[in-house]
Symmetry: C2
Amino acid sequence: MSIPQKQHLSLPKILTLGFLIIILIGTLLLSLPIATRGTHTTSVMDAFFTATSATCVTGLTLVSTAFHWTLFGQTVILFLMEIGGLGFMTFTVMLFLFMRRQMKLSTRLLAQESLNLDNLSQLSVIKLILLLSLIIQLVGAGLLLIDFYPRYGWAKGIWFSLFHAVSAFCNAGFDLFGNSLENFTNDPYVLSIMAILIIAGSFGFLVWQDLLLYPKRRRLSLHTKLALGTGTVITLISIVVYLLSENNLQVLSQHVSYGHRLMNTLFMAITPRTAGLTTLPYQHLSLASIAFTMILMFIGGTPGSTAGGVKTTTIGLLTIQSIATLRGKQDATFGHRRFTQDNIFRALTLIFVALTILAAATLILCATQPLPKNDGLQSVTFEVLAAFGTTGISLGLTPHLNVLGKLIIMFLMFIGRVGIYTVMFSILNANRKQPKYRYPEESVLIG
Amino acid sequence: MSIPQKQHLSLPKILTLGFLIIILIGTLLLSLPIATRGTHTTSVMDAFFTATSATCVTGLTLVSTAFHWTLFGQTVILFLMEIGGLGFMTFTVMLFLFMRRQMKLSTRLLAQESLNLDNLSQLSVIKLILLLSLIIQLVGAGLLLIDFYPRYGWAKGIWFSLFHAVSAFCNAGFDLFGNSLENFTNDPYVLSIMAILIIAGSFGFLVWQDLLLYPKRRRLSLHTKLALGTGTVITLISIVVYLLSENNLQVLSQHVSYGHRLMNTLFMAITPRTAGLTTLPYQHLSLASIAFTMILMFIGGTPGSTAGGVKTTTIGLLTIQSIATLRGKQDATFGHRRFTQDNIFRALTLIFVALTILAAATLILCATQPLPKNDGLQSVTFEVLAAFGTTGISLGLTPHLNVLGKLIIMFLMFIGRVGIYTVMFSILNANRKQPKYRYPEESVLIG
Ligand SMILES: [K+]
Ligand SMILES: [K+]
């Protein structure tokens, strides 16, 4: 059952180490004097935090991206976002394929599996999708420039267009305005382009491939159907909830018309699941909106995309499976397919492990951080989920974190982006030999 | 595979309806004019809430048990606690046995299973344990009377001893002092007796049986080993966390000595997992203690006991299983046994379903309840978990709930006590016929 360990560095280890190396290079560059405006330099710790946030496409910041960093520093952040967003997107997919190859050895699932995932090893498809990603970002930047040129002139306009197209497509949440997209509440054009870029980036590799090949194949994989289905359902629910909980954003200035408020609500429904660009300060939202945003950040986006969290497919699969279990059905089915036992098992375990890590992180932060006098738990939980979901919206705690707090948030951004399984597999040395004997079975009484 | 549905009322339905009927009878009795002190009567809604809280051994109250109800009303509450705590404890175990009988049909697990659980159908053992429970409560009441007689005289002393012995053993959390056990911070004798009663009640039926039969059998079931093991580990962790997060309860009055503070910390480590009797107001605790208490309330106690929550065995099993999965091991093992796949699967699904219900409840309460200006999310989450864990500690939200809020908290107490699976099975009509065909398998990319 166990294969000889030829490769000393497993793929999970390569991915984890790869991310770490990118972050360390980013830290080095951001620590250079030329990265920081004025005469002082940024501390290594703060550079480390910023590099982690950029590479993990999170967007939590200790210092203002707009005013603290020089053009050089901002360019480093741009490249970290692009590498974190795209460079490793391909890698994750390759990892998935590698794991499936391992599973083949012990399960029968391959024979019945859909045709299309296996073609991914063809480098041509990966190249095509990377090319498409770059084209989408460039077109997005061009469209943004139409609005930004009159506002900022050519030089600043082009730079802002590029930076924010990348930040939106990579769902990174960094901005050069100093207040995210709060200047654009009355600008549905910019919000629409940003929203489209965010959605395009959040689809993820496998979905893009399926969509690109659809005209030829005339069918979608179960993964794509579930990802698009769950994503659509969650977005629709989000729109309804925010419409109700914010009363179509009555919190916005009186100068924002009804239609523009609606556009802002739509944008608000899209951004928390991983993008993190916002058109209003979240501190001003109602408690229900804040609680709902936390749930969305926990869910995150599509796997194999730039998203963090436990992922939409995980939630979709488990919702279907839970309903099936509670109704006493044998199989959890969707789109005329049933999910493999192994798939459901891993999804369920993921939720439990994520929950354990998030609870521990929240507890340690509560015990060790200087917290606001009111709403302490709320700001900690929000921060923890924003990091794990790589969403990067904050209720304001980030700049007040001490060293331990920063390290915990960085760890959460890291596992949110790289994936709990990948990180844990590389730490815990998975895929060791199975023992020859097995203990007898016994069950216990649960819940 | 499917058995003919002879019984139109399944066991889960009987259990769910049984609880409902007890609650309704309690509501009726508490609505009577003789239940309430003074000239006014309690509204049906508030009687309904109190009856639910008592039957589900939770302890959340809209009105002071000590000052609002007459002796008649308090007696009704006493009987509801006893029926809710003990009467249905036996029932839950019978339900478990019934479900296992159903599982036999489709799995092979029975043959390898431990010997002792099957003997439970012998009514003699059930009688023995019920008798033992009553004896423990009477002895506890007697020991309490030694302290209460000098304080309250004979009549009040006996009544208080009885009521609080039942409330502690049933982990119900109701008190007749008006401030829980806050008068007893300097009384380690009473706290010790209460702690022992709480622990004895929280063991649950199967553990008691195993312990009683141990001298004869010389072995414990996997359930008992796991329940005792997890319970001990969680209690030890709780002691350490509360010692650190409260600095050995510096929050208590200066008149409480170091040793007595330690006793209060020990009591504090025992109470949140389901008992709900407290020696200090939880509003005064540090944020870390409050967050940790929420985690403990989510976990709850032993299944088959008076406890709510997702249960210690669920958490113990899943911790062992998650570590095994993350280390790439095939089996999750404990005490030279491996857990059945079905057991793990149901435990994982339980966590996900509980999480979904709790998140939805929190969200609706945030949107609809009149909340304190500060720490709104904290008080809502705490209340939700206190209800689901049938712990009944509150940060003060309960009396401010509107009708919808009361109904939601009552629903949470109900599923916390009766069990998510039991309630859902009876609502969703589980165990229907399986379809003859199965869809082909396919897996999706998750987290
Ligand atoms: K982000
Ligand atoms: K209780």
